[in-house]
Symmetry: C2
Subunit: 241 residues, 2 copies
DNA sequence: CGCGCGTTTGATCCTCCTCAACGCTGGTGG
DNA sequence: CCACCAGCGTTGAGGAGGATCAAACGCGCG
């Protein structure tokens, strides 16, 4: 059963000390004093696959950190066109905006757990703990850097380069979290990837096939990819292919 | 004569109290106490048209606020492909990144004046004045929102929609600064616009011509555009055209 | 005046989109 | 337990939108 919106999910008081994602969260590096303060305003929310955490246009009351699973951020155009803004996983953060409504929607790609902070609660903490605003700001700046990369990809790369960039990026994040590996798991569909890269799902599928035929990747299942020749993948991604 | 790099330009101590751009700057809303502190670490830099303020890859030592004129932010790919990330003007802010090197280059489109803050100087102020980090963070979040709009445009709009979006946006910013108007001045070339919108200069030029033929805009000179039918422009920009 | 840069317009080409068919897989119900 | 079905992925054929190549024009400037 899938519940809809912020009303959905299972709630419980956050247990920060046991949080496996802490080193990469909003609460990263927080002192013994600040951590409980943060914990007291945090709520764990559990999401079923397919469940929407918030919709574009909703009042932006909360910010979130992903603790487990995958979340997709996207925006919908009037005629149904969709642009996926990112795929989030452990440690990633979302919901922040300069406006009072969310500019994007967030939906769980897999069963997921997120840590929810009310923005008004957070505000009051910010004035007490400048360090927190620091961390907050730092994460926002990191997001901005990521968006610049994506902007270049969407504006100036062709289909095969976009897909190669996507795979290389996915591998990077995999490596950062787990031990170095050549295998990536993609919880999203080809349509999701297409809407992320500004392509159609057919074009994405063809790009995967082409990379496979050229021996650069191996497609174990549609969602499990092995990178066989990372150097060539990077070359293609950067336009040297 | 055009000087190159951060070495270029004419320097002088910032005169914050007389700064015409203050309401929209990093120093917006700063108290009487904080403003002099900020002023003491600020330097005015004057730029000739075409002069580069910083290059992608340079150590990110400063952040900047534009006080006058126009600045173009862009990134260059290995084979010369260029993606323009934005066109900045009075009050806009740049140079901020989560990394230690700039992710983009900044070049003056017109003669310009910017207000320069050393990041290390800023850091020390931040710990004294949390309000400053606040404002800083707020501007970064605003940038992020803008990037999401651009991402949708690059990922999911066709040529005419992109150009219409661009013009509508330019008009919006014009209106926000001056009195409501229907005329926009575009200091950048068609190639700049193309590299911003992920198109070629020819396609941009054709889109302008088509909008003119349909009576939606009037092209006084290549860089002076009149918006004759804003409603239709917005419709086209959002895909209802 | 002539030159160079930026813009416009035209002709052709090619990448990616669209439409369509088919296969695979996992879930559901008979 | 198996048949069926829906959703997702792959592959193919054809077409459209934008890129590329090319030429001419206008304008500012030396």
């Amino acid at each position: 059963m899938v519940s809809i919106g912020v009303q959905g999910g299972v709630y419980r008081q956050a247990a920060c000390l046991q949080c496996p994602a802490r080193p990469r969260m909003l609460c990263a590096g927080m002192t013994n004093e600040l951590l409980p303060a943060l914990g007291s305003i945090a709520t764990d929310v559990r999401l079923d696959k397919g469940e929407t955490l918030f919709y574009e246009g909703d009042d932006a009351k909360y910010v979130y950190n992903v603790k487990k699973g995958y979340v997709r951020l996207s925006r919908l155009g009037v005629d149904g066109r969709r642009q996926v803004m990112g795929f989030l996983t452990v440690g990633d953060y979302m919901g922040h905006t300069g406006k009072s409504q969310y500019a994007i929607s967030a939906e769980a790609l897999t069963d997921a757990e997120v840590c929810r902070f009310s923005r008004s609660d957070l505000e009051s903490l910010l004035s007490q703990y400048p360090q927190l605003e620091r961390q907050f700001h730092h994460m926002t700046a990191g997001l901005l850097d990521d968006m610049l990369d994506l902007l270049f990809t969407l504006g100036r790369k062709n289909a095969i380069e976009r897909v190669a960039s996507f795979l290389d990026n996915a591998l990077d994040r995999q490596i950062q979290s787990d031990e170095p590996a050549t295998q990536i798991w993609l919880p999203m569909t080809r349509a999701d990837i297409a809407d992320f890269l500004g392509l159609t799902l057919e074009t994405v599928s063809r790009a995967f096939s082409r990379l496979r035929k050229e021996g650069i990747i191996d497609i174990e299942h549609a969602h499990t990819i092995h990178i066989l020749q990372r150097a060539r993948l990077i070359d293609i991604a950067s336009g040297d292919g």
